[in-house]
């Protein structure tokens, strides 16, 4: 692709705007001096990733990111922060010591190289074909197709993941729950 082609496609500008937003907010997540601000910047970064999925026509994945990450995970983050300390203003304890910057940079760059080279190696010059025109909205993956592939081709991995999640859920309850000791249950008169 040459540069003039790049300028004729409006998608490229949208993509750049989203990408810059995502990078800037992701940078602020790790540099801000307030935990709640970090979480709110993370919201913006996740929203930008959802927007990228929308740009690719992966509507279902995009709204799943919004529902699961912004709607549930981030809300739980905020809930956890607020129920414990709820810090307002700049926190001095939230330090960014200089000595960990270089290792952190090395790890991030290595991760970037691994993911980037895998993506490039796996797809090379493949172009992802959008859905045929006229079947549904052009270029959008149909939800029904996503459902078909999950529950037919990938049904066993799906079930394995669901069992894993159930086990994790039970584990979390077992770890978090405090059973009353003998004396306590006698004192309050509650059954164990």
């Amino acid at each position: 692709m040459i540069l003039t082609d790049w300028f004729t496609m409006p998608e490229n500008f949208v993509y750049s705007a989203i990408g810059v937003t995502m990078l800037a907010t992701a940078y602020r997540v790790v540099t801000t001096r307030n935990v709640v601000h970090a979480v709110l910047h993370l919201v913006a970064a996740l929203a930008a990733s959802a927007a990228l999925f929308l740009l690719l026509g992966a509507e279902f994945v995009a709204w799943t990111v919004v529902l699961v990450y912004i709607g549930a995970v981030i809300v739980l983050f905020l809930f956890g922060i607020m129920i414990t300390r709820a810090p307002l203003g700049v926190e001095t304890e939230l330090s960014h010591p200089r000595r960990i910057r270089i290792p952190a940079a090395i790890v991030s760059f290595a991760l970037f190289l691994v993911i980037g080279s895998t993506m490039v190696g796996a797809f090379k010059d493949d172009v992802i074909e959008p859905a045929p025109q006229g079947t549904m909205e052009f270029g959008i993956t149909r939800t029904a197709d996503v459902g078909q592939s999950i529950f037919q081709r990938f049904v066993i991995p799906f079930e394995v993941v669901s069992v894993l999640l159930l086990a994790a859920l039970i584990g979390a309850i077992v770890l978090a729950r405090k059973d009353p000791t003998e004396e306590e249950s006698e004192a309050t008169g509650t059954m164990r």
Binding site: N34, E59, V66, F79, M82, I83, L88
Partner: protein
């Protein structure tokens, strides 16, 4: 017509013609109904006949108040919070169908999109509660978040049962499925609240009341113990944003409830393909919305408030198991018939 022009027209029509007049109408309705149920004299007499001046007086009062940001507040987050709440609510109007062709965008994902954008409101409420720098606000925000998380589950599960029965996630698809479902092979078509989803409708309505933090589920802004919860520090135009957002949310959820359970723009006796529905559809839907809105207002002025533990018990021990049972029954009938 170009995409951008169409976008501007759609947003203008939805916000200017549908949301705003309905919000104002329902605020006036709430004032009048509360006046008649609890003998509040303002809305009887303000301005002479019908108390027409009461909503105007309230509106002017909100607008001329100073927009304060408390010293202890986190200014940027505090200012942004009302817009996040309002954004989540307004975004739901994209997929509400007012007729066979009168829909901003008939997304294939429909209901799923709805659940995703309506979860953004929780974020705004938490932002408001934290950034105010006030302990009442913080406790109110926490209560609101706990409540919204708890009641989102039964709402989602109730909607899942509708999606199973209709076999689609698109809201227009669900309306058409209601218009074509046959009752025992007879040529009778009825909305889902009568055939199959009566229990689902009860669960959905209860969960929606809690999502909107309206009495009997208004623990987050319980005046007697938390002043005004996460709204305590807000005044002037930002408080008005929350206020409008609350009523816009009421209309949005009433419209969704009407579409999923009461047949949306379709009424029994008409065909869903009829072009006539494009003309009477919006009126039918708005009628159903007003019916549900009246129900919400009626509950608010006649019921006491639930205690926090009762509220959580209702969600986790009653509504969620009931909605799971509802899904099992719906799936059973879907497979057998």
């Amino acid at each position: 017509m170009s995409f951008w022009l169409l976008l501007v027209i759609k947003v203008g029509v939805i916000v200017g013609v549908v949301v705003m007049p309905l919000v104002l109408g329902i605020i006036f309705g709430e004032l009048k109904i509360s006046a008649h149920m609890q003998s509040r004299i303002g809305p009887y007499f303000a301005g002479g006949r019908f108390g027409w001046a009461q909503p105007l007086a309230d509106g002017l009062k909100f607008m001329q108040k100073e927009d304060l940001v408390p010293d202890a507040a986190d200014s940027a987050v505090y200012r942004l919070a009302p817009y996040v709440v309002l954004m989540g609510t307004i975004a739901t109007f994209v997929i509400i169908p007012f007729g066979p062709d009168l829909i901003a965008r008939d997304l294939d994902l429909g209901v799923f999109y709805l659940l995703a954008v309506s979860s953004l409101g929780t974020l705004g409420v938490l932002m408001a509660g934290w950034s105010s720098g006030n302990k009442y606000s913080l406790i109110g925000g926490l209560r609101a978040a706990a409540q919204l998380i708890a009641y989102e589950l039964p709402m989602v599960l109730a909607v899942v049962a509708v999606a199973i029965q209709a076999g689609t996630l698109s809201l227009n698809g669900i309306v058409e499925a209601q218009a074509t479902t046959e009752l025992f092979g007879l040529n009778i078509h009825l909305p889902y609240v009568i055939i199959g989803q009566g229990l689902g409708f009860a669960i959905f309505t209860t969960a929606v009341l809690a999502e909107l933090s309206r009495i009997p589920f208004d623990m987050p802004i319980a005046e007697s113990e938390l002043t005004m919860g996460y709204l305590t520090e807000y005044s002037g135009i930002r408080f008005t944003m929350f206020f409008l957002g609350e009523y816009a949310g009421m209309i949005a959820f009433a419209a969704i409830g009407a579409t999923l359970y009461l047949g949306g723009w379709w009424i029994p006796g008409f065909s869903a393909d009829d072009n006539l529905m494009n003309f009477i559809g919006p009126l039918v839907l708005i009628g159903k919305v007003l019916l549900l809105a009246f129900l919400f207002i009626w509950f608010r002025w006649t019921w006491p408030r639930l205690r926090e533990d009762q509220l959580q018990t209702l969600a986790w021990k009653w509504l969620i198991p009931l909605s799971l049972f509802n899904i099992v029954v719906t799936a059973f009938f879907k497979v057998v018939f």
